[in-house]
Symmetry: C2
Subunit: 193 residues, 2 copies
Amino acid sequence: MGKSLWKAGTMIYPLPAVMISCGSRPEDYNIITIAWTGTICTDPPMCYISIRPHRHSYDIIKSSGEFVINLTTKKLARATDWCGIKSGSKYNKFKEMGLSPEKASFVKAPMIAESPVNIECKLTEIIELGVHHMFLAKVLGIHADEQYIDKESQEFQLEKAKLIAYSHGKYYELGKFIGKFGFSVRKKKKHKH
Amino acid sequence: MGKSLWKAGTMIYPLPAVMISCGSRPEDYNIITIAWTGTICTDPPMCYISIRPHRHSYDIIKSSGEFVINLTTKKLARATDWCGIKSGSKYNKFKEMGLSPEKASFVKAPMIAESPVNIECKLTEIIELGVHHMFLAKVLGIHADEQYIDKESQEFQLEKAKLIAYSHGKYYELGKFIGKFGFSVRKKKKHKH
């Protein structure tokens, strides 16, 4: 069998499905779920989210210049999906999904307390690409749930948070561990007899 | 327990770890593995990859203006890791990893035959953000391995390709299926008695 040629489309997977929280005042707080997101630079740490202009969060983020990226987990899967479909113009998404706004350190936008990792972001530029506009942002700080920090090694064990991935219209848990970055070149320890 | 505040960093996960193939002539063909990648617009379909300027692929992609994004699988995990560490200035990565260059339809850059999905990309802009430069690109076409197209439904069953995810320095298989996009609002079918 060979390969089929398809027309151009969006087929980079698996992706995160993050919940973006925004709004400078409690009455404006909103959440939008986004898979068109990622890291764009390590130093300075920068990321992006792409949003359609008609979305309720678009103007909130554009005018406040701030947002928080909240990683999503198996427990948050239903809220993740729901917040990607419903509009903040009709619902108080925090309330509807039983999520708790938590004060951030650098931005006025709230963090989602139930998320294991919150990434505070400051908008630097908007690029109007087409149906999506890309919001480039600097990362100002990161909040990590201490329950996933190993007490002995002080290592942050993100795998224990049970992050979910989005792939071609479906949500999945992360599965079996394959290897650490660099496993292909690491020398195997010799077994002593 | 609460949350720890960390300094700014890169914590958006899980991400894809794609192999980027590039080069206009066989003697220039190279592969670089990248996790700083994603979709930035649905229509026109656009994506990005962020690369450090010292990488061997940087000049190849900048001068040719073309590259191919190849999705990676459990079978390709070792090659994925290796191509992210070794330099194309020292190795013929296709040869070293036993991968086969395959002719693309729109670009001169080769596709990786062993990848289930190849995404042909045309560079539109480079943004010099910091240690990484962001390459924005239009998707020209997609090649999908026919063995994952269901003969009856004609549905492309990407889950059968066993894509891998990269999360905080570790590679994982995708695990249990959680739900389709929209599952949180879909009405349950009534069970007839």
